[in-house]
Symmetry: C2
Subunit: 337 residues, 2 copies
Amino acid sequence: MENVTIRMLAERLQLSTATISKALSNSHEISEETKQRVLALATELNYVPNPYASSLRKKSSHTIAVVIPEVADSFFAEAINGIESVAQEKGYHVLIYLTHESFGKEQAILKDFQSGRVDGVLISVTTETAAAAHGLAQLVKEIPVVFFDRVCEEVTAARVTTDDANAAYNATAHLIAGGCRNIGLLSASRHLSISNRRAEGFRQALADHQLPLTDTSILYCSNEPAETRQLLKTALQQNHYDGLIATTEKLATAVYLACEELSLAIPGDVQVIGFSNLSTARFLQPSLTTVSQPAFDMGHAAATVLFKALKSSSFPLQEQQQVIPSSLIIRNSTKAL
Amino acid sequence: MENVTIRMLAERLQLSTATISKALSNSHEISEETKQRVLALATELNYVPNPYASSLRKKSSHTIAVVIPEVADSFFAEAINGIESVAQEKGYHVLIYLTHESFGKEQAILKDFQSGRVDGVLISVTTETAAAAHGLAQLVKEIPVVFFDRVCEEVTAARVTTDDANAAYNATAHLIAGGCRNIGLLSASRHLSISNRRAEGFRQALADHQLPLTDTSILYCSNEPAETRQLLKTALQQNHYDGLIATTEKLATAVYLACEELSLAIPGDVQVIGFSNLSTARFLQPSLTTVSQPAFDMGHAAATVLFKALKSSSFPLQEQQQVIPSSLIIRNSTKAL
DNA sequence: TTTATTTACTTAACCGATTAAGTAACACGG
DNA sequence: CCGTGTTACTTAATCGGTTAAGTAAATAAA
C-alpha cells in the first residue's frame, strides 16, 4: 500500500488538491460539507501529511535543534526534559546534537542549520568554544537562537543562565565559614563564560575574606576523565586543599573518586561542593553539598522564549536575558552550618 | 541575503541545475573541470543544500527517531549517547521523543512516523504499552524499527536487550546467599516484557532455593514518584522485606529514600539491589549493589543494526536479536561475598 | 567513411503540499 | 436588469533539489 497523498484524496473525492489542502487546514474558503467529506476520507485512509513537502513550501520545519556537549549529565538530561515538554506541547520536533566538547563538531553542526533544517536552536556551547565563535555570530543573524547555561558572551543573543558568580561566591563563602583556608576551584574550561563567572565569584569571595588567590587556586581540568583523574590526584597531593568546588557534575564524582583513592576523608580532610543536579546527591557517602541548578526550568524557559520568537518575528529575542537562581543545598560533604 | 540555491549556482556558472546537482554529488557524468568550478562557487557562496527538498524527492530523510520514556535516567541517557555516536558517524540526524510512560503519547508519536519523517526508529516502549500494540505492529511493516531494552514481544522486530531473566535470577540468588528469606521485587509494569522476564528470573531463583512466592513478593509500582513512595513505605512496614530488588533506577533511589524515612538500615534491615547505571552507585551510602546494563553499548548496537537495514533493504532486520549481558556489581547494600 | 559509443551536458518531469490568482454560480442591492 | 459581492471551488506556479530521458559533439570501432 502506497503512502496516501493529498492527490489521492483529491481523486477519490473528485476535487482538486488545493481544495483538499485547504479543507485540511480548515480554510474558510471551503464549505462545511466538503470539509467533513475530506476529513472523513483522510481518517479512513489514514492520511498523514508529508512534513517535508510542507516544510519545503512553507519554509518552516516545525523542528528545533538542541545542541549540547553531552547527555549523560543530569543537568543536560533534565534540561532536555524541560525543552521537550514545551516542544511537545507546541507540536514541534526536537533534533538532538551532541558536541562531546568539540568545537569542530559544534561548528559543523551549526553550519548545517543554515540549510533551514530547523526553525530555531537551543545551545549550550562546548568548553572549547572560543571567543571569536564566528559560526555562532552568523547563525544568530539567520535563525532564532537561545543560549542556555553555557552561553557565549561575545555573541548578542537570548540567554537563560543561572547566577553563576553568586552561586560560586556563596559556595566559596560556605567553605570558608566551614574553616577552609586553601580552597581549589575545579574549572572545566578557560573559555567558557560560566566558568569565568564562577571563577569571578570565587575570587571575590576569597578577596572579601582576606584569603589569597594563588596560581593553584583554580585548577583547569580536562575533558578526558583519565587525565582529569590524574590531574586531580596530583593536585590534591601537592596542594593540600582543604576545600574543593567542582563546577561540573563529572568533576564532583571525580573528586569523590580521587579522595577515595588517596584515602582523603570528606569532609574531614577536604570539604567538597559540587555544581550538580544529581538526584542521588543526598544519598552519597558523604551526602554532597551542591549548587543545584534548576535544569528543567532552564530548559523550559529557554524553549519558551524560543517559541515566542518563532510565533512572532517581531519578538525581540536577542534582548531576552533570563537568570534563574540556583540554590546551595548544604549536606554533609561540608562542615559549616 | 537570500539562501543560496542550486539554481543560483547554475545561473552564475551558466549551467543547468541538473549539472550543479550532479557535480555536487560527484557524478561521473560531469567533467572534472566543471566539478571544480561548481565546488569552488559553492564554498564561496557558502551553499548549504536544503535537506527537505532532497528528502521530498529522494524519499529519505537521513534522520532517525529515538523514542524513549524519559531522558533523566542514566540508562537512557547513555543509550542516547551510544545511538548518537553511530548516527553522527553516518551523518544522520536524531530526533528525540519522550513518551513519559504514556501509551497515548507513544501512539501519537509513532503515527507521525508514517509520514516519512524518519528513515528508521529506535524505541524503548512505555510501561503502559499493551500487548496488542497495534500501532507498533503496523509501523514495523512500514519502516525499519529496532527495539532496545524495553521490547514488545508480541511484535516481530529487531531487538537489543539484556539477559533480564538471568540478571534477576542472579540478583535474587545473591540476596538469598546473603541471608534474605523475604525478598520483594519492585516492578515498574505488569505489561513490560522486561519486567515479566525479570519477574520470571526472580520466581525461578526463589523456587530453586525453596523459598515461597507470595502475593507480596512482587510489588507493582507507579510512574508517579509520590505514589510509589507511599506504596513503598506501606509495603516495607507491612511486609518486612529483608531484601529488595529495584528493577529501575528511579525505584532504586526511591528505596533509599523510603528506608531513610522509615529509619531502616541498608543492608542491616533490608538488603538492596538496583538495576541501574548510575555512575555514583559506588559512592552511595551505602554503595549500591547493581545490575548494570551496558547502556552505551546497547544504544550503539541498536543503532548499528538499524543502519545496516537502512543501507541494504535486503538485510533481514526483523530477525536480529541481540542479547548483551548485564553484570551484577556487588557493593555494600548487600551482604553476600 | 559510416556507425557506434562515450562524454558532458540540458530539458523537463517529479516529490507532495501550499497558495496566489482565476472562475463559475448564485445572491443581492439599486 | 446590471453591477458588485460572496461562496466554493479550480488552475497553475512554487518551494529546491533529483533524475529519467534526450542531445550535440567528440571519439572509437567497423
